[in-house]
């Protein structure tokens, strides 16, 4: 009988054992999950619960030498979204589009940022206007996971006046993100794109803070400040050597009509006082995304506003490079400052079967080296170049840094173009063994031919002429001044050249640019323009005061026609700087 009490008792024992075994199994599993693996699940639950919202850090403030602000941060807003997936992101963008205008590009870049980094809130509007913020803030409930927060916004009080040196910031690009220097950057972050902003990115970049918010399973923010914030950290300000008053003055002179570049330096320390490229652009409009129309406008402008003519443009130096010829000759002991050349200038020079013109058809007659510099006599320098010889001429130019970069602390400075030594190899490679003659010597000796220099490199060359043969590396941010010997002339030789340069402005080619009470030295240059034979580039590189130089200024005007025009601008810059110094000397510099 199957229901005999003993049989039932037996089955009850089996059943109870089975039940106990089942519960032991359950408890064992719970023990493993809750006690042994507790740490792992606590972490997972915190990860579930908390979202880290990055707090954008302010960038370092950039000051000029007198603690005037070149770049600062203004309060701005950024709008981002904690999206669970791409669909959520797209639908949210669509729904925001019903409230405020959203362009397809904005949706596209939001999706791109999301794909780059899914764990961070995706930036929808990097620089949201106050109107946009208030519109969305009103409807915040409709957009779960929307994060509206203040984000420091880069601002350049002087805008276009400083764009050539300070550059601009922008959202880090995909290309940059995959590069090693940007390894710890995240999509959507701001990064220096050009100028000082890019060069000193590591010093200007702040440390992002973190805000912890609690989100539910749908990504809705249910509690702000779920944990104590890690505040963002702005870096120490960056002090530059720029004299902002001078910089503004330079930009003002150029206005919107002149095309060209200026570099002003302190000759011994290499401190860059002003650096300008015209026409210019407004870096403030680049912040938070360049409007397509503005970008197109800049790109279409034939004057190339985005092209930094001070460090990226190379131009035939023309007569300002005659000093290189003079130095090479003097270093080789071939000529003295009072020496004349065999053939007097009659407006041209016959070399072989070619006639080389002097710029002045009337001719300069018999001139010394000093007078030749003063009046920029081409015929004198043709003969001097021939006397030096092509090899020594080129070697001398190279020693003066004609093939080098100035070393200025700005990104993508272009190297100046000049033949290599030995010249035969260079010219054979360039024109073929029979494609050139010694006539290239004549062109090179007056700064024409295979010679194309950046404005900043010419400024550097003249820091050596203005002082003692040592050239200073141009520095925008105070670093370690580095001076390199370019040439060694006797004091008398150097004095002779410097006097000649002073006479250029005193009574020579730049006589119209004389300043009241300040002796200015320098050299004009008028360089043939490869693009337009009737609109030469105008150069002036010089320094003041002539005895003990405080400022070197290099000015290049595209299509400037004659160096004297550049000289007028340069001397005005010098005057502004030197006279301001007399008045405002006691200003405490930096720190």
């Amino acid at each position: 009988m199957s229901f005999h009490p003993n049989a039932v008792q037996e089955r009850a024992r089996v059943a109870s054992a089975l039940i106990l075994a089942g519960f032991v199994l359950l408890l064992g599993t719970f023990f493993r999950t809750m006690v042994l693996q507790n740490a792992r699940y606590v972490l997972a639950s915190e990860e579930n619960r908390l979202r880290e919202i990055p707090l954008p850090a302010p960038r370092g403030i950039i000051y000029d030498r007198n603690s005037q602000v070149i770049a600062e941060n203004l309060p701005g807003y950024s709008i981002s979204l904690l999206a669970r997936n791409e669909d959520t992101l797209r639908t949210t963008m669509d729904r925001i589009g019903a409230v405020v205008p959203v362009t397809p590009e904005q949706i596209g870049s939001a999706v791109r940022r999301y794909r780059r980094d899914r764990s961070r809130p995706t930036v929808l509007f990097g620089d949201a206007s106050f109107e946009l913020v208030s519109l969305l803030e009103e409807r915040r409930v409709e957009f779960p996971g929307l994060i509206i927060q203040s984000a420091p916004k880069r601002h350049y009080p002087d805008g276009p006046a400083v764009s050539a040196l300070v550059g601009y910031t922008g959202e880090i690009s995909d290309a940059e993100l995959s590069q090693e220097p940007f390894a710890d950057y995240k999509a959507g972050q701001q990064v220096g794109k050009d100028g000082v902003e890019r060069q000193y990115e590591s010093r200007l970049r702040g440390r992002e803070g973190v805000r912890f918010v609690e989100v539910d399973a749908r990504g809705r923010v249910v509690r702000e400040n779920a944990r104590e914030d890690i505040p963002p950290d702005g870096p120490a300000p960056l002090y530059t050597n720029i004299d902002l008053d001078l910089q503004r003055y330079v930009a003002e002179i150029f206005g919107d009509s002149l095309i060209g570049a200026v570099v002003a330096m302190e000759p011994r320390s290499g401190e860059v006082l002003a650096l300008h490229s015209a026409p210019t652009f407004d870096p403030n409009r680049f912040v938070g995304g360049i409007p397509q129309s503005y970008w197109d406008e800049l790109q279409r402008d034939p004057r190339r506003p985005l092209y930094n003519k001070a460090i990226k443009g190379t131009y035939p130096p023309g007569s300002i490079f005659k000093l290189a010829t003079a130095i090479a000759a003097m270093e080789n002991g071939l000529v003295d400052i009072d020496d004349q050349m065999p053939v007097p200038c009659t407006g041209g020079y016959q070399y072989g079967n070619r006639y080389f013109r002097c710029w002045d058809k009337k001719g300069h007659g018999n001139v010394t080296l000093a007078e030749a510099i003063e009046h920029s006599c081409d015929v004198y320098f043709y003969q001097l170049g021939l006397k030096i010889g092509l090899q020594r001429l080129i070697a001398g130019g190279i020693r003066l840094g004609a093939r080098a970069r100035s070393g200025i602390d700005l990104p993508s400075e272009v190297r100046s173009l000049y033949p290599t030594d030995p010249p035969k190899k260079y010219y054979d490679a360039r024109f073929g063994p029979r494609g050139w003659s010694n006539a290239v010597t004549l062109n090179l000796s007056i700064g024409q031919g295979e010679n194309s220099q950046t404005v900043v490199n010419m400024a550097r060359l003249y820091t050596a002429l203005a002082t003692d043969g040592f050239a200073a590396r141009p520095e925008i941010v105070r670093g370690q001044a580095e001076r390199t010997r370019l040439f060694s002339l006797s004091d008398a030789q150097l004095k002779g050249i410097q006097d000649a340069l002073t006479n250029v402005v005193g009574r020579g080619t730049a006589a119209g640019s004389r300043l009241q009470g300040i002796a200015v030295a320098g050299k004009t240059g008028t360089a043939q323009n490869a693009q337009d034979a009737f609109a030469d580039h105008a150069w002036f590189v010089g320094y003041a005061p002539a005895g003990e130089a405080k400022i070197v200024v290099a000015v290049m005007l595209e299509f400037g026609l004659h160096g004297s025009r550049a000289a007028r601008i340069a001397t005005k810059i010098m005057e502004k700087y030197l006279k301001a110094r007399v008045v405002a000397m006691p200003v405490v510099e930096g720190e």
Partner: protein
């Protein structure tokens, strides 16, 4: 008419009462989320059903086992009729929105008849099994109990409701065991189902099949039975992959996720992972009543019904789990004791059948929250929110009190 004085088995309703109170507290906590929803107030509804259940249980405990035995046929037929009716007018709800598990009249959901059907099947099986003088010794001898389970089982699987179907199988085999059916026969009876499950691993199925052949050699059933057994096992081993294609995608996913929870973390595996995270992050002492962050932030799926154990784990910690499982363990051992003390085979079988139903519920439900069992959407007795289930559980309590009152010896002592 004044009823005779029945000595009540107090520990049983007391345990059920504590479990219900515990459960309602957890349903209350489950409603405390950051984003308020309808769940916030449902503990009150649960409380009403609980009180209703207690009253019904009291009423049942005042009847007699004889009445139950007499009524079992009608209850069973009524339950089957309701299940049949459901296939035409049934509605879905909650997680089972696409099924037809709910009976609704005039748009008001009354409950899930399948909960009643469990009790009906237990009663009917007890009646049929107790009517047999000797326990069946051959497979064909099991046809009557098999048919009794099969009819409602098919109707429930047609809803479809896999979880309840599993409970029916638990009830069926447990009651056969309690009626004295031998182990080998039970294994043989279960073999087609085992083959079905093992069919997903051909090597494992092969090993199982050899084992089965050995068992057949030892038991030596009639040749017809042998061939039917071999036939059905081969069929389910081969047919299983075909049946797989018949499963709903969500059922397929759930089974697959059971095998590898990390396979699809954002979809079905998400439920299991979030449940495990909630439980695992509870630690030994828990995050505190109503303070579970996983639950508050809605990461725990179905936290007020199927996954209520995740709330217990997260908020009350391992201690809370020990407490709740301990209460269930005491309850089940108590009911096994009631079954063993019963003077009539029918009453004994009823008690054991109800025990088996609860045990299956607890094992499958609690097991699923920690990844021990597949996710089948089966509620936890006394805990999970659900009116008809709460009512069914208390009906069972009433029946068990009744059975206990008519049993041999004294009802005292919590364990056997």
């Amino acid at each position: 008419m004044k009823s005779p004085r029945i000595p009540t088995d107090w520990p049983l309703p007391a345990l059920a009462f504590v479990l219900s109170a515990f459960g309602i507290a957890m349903v209350y906590s489950a409603g405390q989320t950051e984003m308020p929803s309808f769940i916030e107030g449902i503990w009150r509804i649960q409380l009403v059903w609980f009180l209703l259940g207690v009253s019904v249980a009291y009423g049942i405990s005042r009847t007699s086992v004889r009445l139950l035995e007499w009524g079992s046929v009608w209850v069973y037929l009524g339950a089957c009729a309701l299940l049949l009716l459901l296939l035409f007018i049934g509605q879905g709800a909650g997680t089972a929105a696409s099924t037809k598990s709910w009976l609704a009249i005039g748009g008001v959901r009354l409950g899930q008849p399948s909960e009643l059907a469990k009790i009906a099947v237990v009663l009917m099986l007890a009646r049929v099994l107790s009517a047999q003088r000797v326990a069946p010794t051959s497979l064909f001898g099991l046809w009557r109990p098999a048919a009794i389970v099969l009819v409602p089982w098919l109707l429930i699987m047609a809803q479809p409701d896999l979880g309840t179907g599993i409970v029916f199988l638990g009830i069926f085999f447990a009651m056969l065991f309690w009626s004295g059916v031998s182990w080998p026969l039970l294994v043989l009876a279960a073999s087609p189902a085992i083959s079905l499950i093992l069919a997903f691993g051909p090597g494992v199925w092969g090993a199982w099949f050899f084992l089965l052949l050995g068992l057949l050699w030892w038991v030596r059933p009639a040749w017809l039975e042998t061939s039917v057994l071999v036939g059905t096992n081969v069929a389910s081993g081969v047919v299983a992959p075909l049946l797989w294609g018949q499963l709903n995608p969500y059922q397929q996913r759930r089974l697959l996720v059971f095998l590898d929870p990390s396979a699809d973390p954002r979809a079905s595996g998400y439920h299991l992972i979030q449940s495990q995270v909630a439980i695992g992050s509870g630690g030994f002492f828990g995050k505190g009543f109503t303070d579970g962050s996983q639950k508050r932030l809605a990461f725990v799926p179905e936290q007020y019904t199927d996954f209520i154990m995740a709330v217990v784990g997260e908020e009350l910690g391992f201690l809370g789990v020990i407490l709740s499982l301990g209460l269930f363990g005491m309850l089940l051992l108590r009911t096994v004791r009631i079954a063993s003390r019963s003077s009539s085979p029918f009453a004994s079988l009823v008690a054991f059948g109800l025990t088996a139903a609860w045990f299956t519920h607890v094992m499958v439900n609690v097991g699923m929250t920690v990844g021990l069992m597949p996710i089948t959407g089966i509620p936890l007795p006394f805990f999970s929110y659900g009116g008809s289930f709460m009512l069914a559980c208390w009906i069972a309590v009433g029946i068990l009190v009744l059975v206990s009152a008519e049993g041999r010896g004294k009802a005292d002592g919590l364990v056997i």
